[in-house]
Symmetry: C2
């Protein structure tokens, strides 16, 4: 994340994030690939560590903080959701999908470790996500079972055919097609939105919340998730590969429908701003005392330059 | 499974299995791929339905029955473990892994639906496994949360880097190498054993059991898991592709170490018999009143001809 700090809501986001990010990195380093066979573990760690903005884990921790939830459960959920994100990138980059060779400025996992190992590393990362959420007895037995079950349910739904994997399948089937705005929104709601919204809901599930709060946080997560994709489409057009740390312009090159191709650049920017306002409006009605970190993360998503 | 029935322990296995298999097929058909985008759902159902001996689900249900556990939880766990097995076959068959075109007598998923869709279908099947185990509130809220959390933990561990995916990674790294019997056993303990043993433990987790019972069932599952692989290696040598429903002789062709290459055919057969005896001995000390179905399933594994 950039050093430019959102201060308008009274929260120094960079200051808030610092210990959160340190905890996330430390936990990921402690949990990922350490008990795996050598090459597999190395590929898993390569895919996850030392890269990424950790937006999804930060959303989990911010939502947990907003509801006054259990930090130990949230840290596990935060890492779990990042593992799902990381595995999806590994598989997405493979030759049979996007065939991308560069990710976060480094060779992609299949370039570095071979396709078979990349496939397995992605598979193992998904399993590990659920292992983190439901640790074996003894390891984190203090997290209530009902919370573990709820987190498992939310993560599985966000990751699967009704979530991320389903969105990727729609994306795959839509190359070269003319999608309506509704169809494009539905694709992205699943492909990137489900896991971002799931992050917020998982953070909230680490505490006690009423239905109205949960619904407002779900609306916040949905708006933020769509905004993220709209900004991604904008950046794919306006930024270069060095800034992005991945291949720029590839959506247009692949003839994929995007918000920019549908609305034009200015139209997409206006839509991103509108979604930011929706996210803030949802926070305003969620009934929680302090949602400043969630608000600042939404602003960060809109303003990010890479 | 064949019509030849193990009757020596007083249980008609075919008769016992019939309603179990009907429930498993019906549940899989109800749960797999139905709310997925069209092509993805089709690929998921193709990978799972109308094929397979359902050994893992039967182990879950038999273990649940032996401990007097909850049938509703066990049916979910049974389907979940089959989805993990099915996804591993889809990914295993892909060109970057075994590059196999025939599975259960049908074209493999990537041949039928393309590589990208096969990759996504496998990913979505793994997520769905965990979704089945931890259903959203309302759907199966009667399964105690502690049971859901325990099932999630067991399944994740059996599927991941310390289980199936880890075993596949060792397998990948061992092609062309001379493995010792210990190394071969460790690979198979993870690659196929972990999920078979996990099936038994998940069935047991659907009820209340003491530590001694759980340990004995774990020993049963470990012996059965190894026996399964030894028999698989034997069949790879002695059976033809039509009987197997998959390409025969491919381990030897790929220069993969097997129990037959290590022990010879007769040695491997003797080892399978010894493992069957270990499985029965474990059942004899588990302290449960009726383990006939588990015993008969172990015999079936040793005797199966396809």
């Amino acid at each position: 994340m950039s050093a430019a700090v959102t201060q308008e809501n009274g929260l120094d986001l960079a200051h808030w994030m610092q210990p959160m990010l340190a905890d996330i990195e430390q936990a990921l380093s402690r949990w990922v690939g350490v008990e795996a066979p050598e090459q597999l573990g190395e590929a898993m760690r390569y895919a996850v560590l030392d890269g990424g903005k950790r937006l999804r884990p930060l959303l989990v921790l911010a939502a947990c903080e907003a509801v006054g939830g259990r930090r130990d459960a949230a840290l596990r959920a935060a890492c779990a959701v990042e593992l799902i994100h990381a595995y999806s990138l590994v598989h997405d980059d493979m030759p049979c999908m996007d065939n991308d060779v560069l990710r976060r400025g480094k060779p992609t996992v299949h370039v570095r470790f071979g396709e078979a190992q990349a496939l397995l590393a992605g598979d193992a990362l998904q399993a590990l996500a659920f292992e983190l959420i439901a640790p074996a007895e003894g390891e984190a037995a203090q997290v209530p079972a009902a919370m573990q079950a709820r987190l498992c349910s939310l993560l599985a739904r966000a990751a699967g055919a009704r979530g991320m994997a389903g969105g990727q399948a729609i994306d795959l089937a839509s190359v070269g097609l003319q999608l309506s705005e509704d169809q494009l929104r539905q694709m992205h709601r699943l492909k990137t939105g489900a896991l971002l919204q799931g992050s917020v809901l998982m953070g909230a599930a680490c505490g006690e919340t009423g239905d109205a709060t949960r619904e407002a946080l779900a609306a916040y997560g949905a708006a933020l998730g769509l905004a993220f994709q709209v900004v991604d489409d904008i950046l794919d057009v306006v930024a270069d590969s060095a800034t992005l740390g991945k291949t720029a312009g590839k959506d247009a090159a692949a003839d994929k429908p995007t918000y920019v191709s549908l609305m034009g650049l200015e139209g997409a920017r206006a839509y991103a701003d509108q979604l930011a306002q929706e996210a803030h409006a949802a926070l305003a009605r969620c009934g929680l005392a302090d949602t400043r970190a969630l608000a600042a993360l939404a602003d960060q998503v809109i303003r990010r330059s890479h």
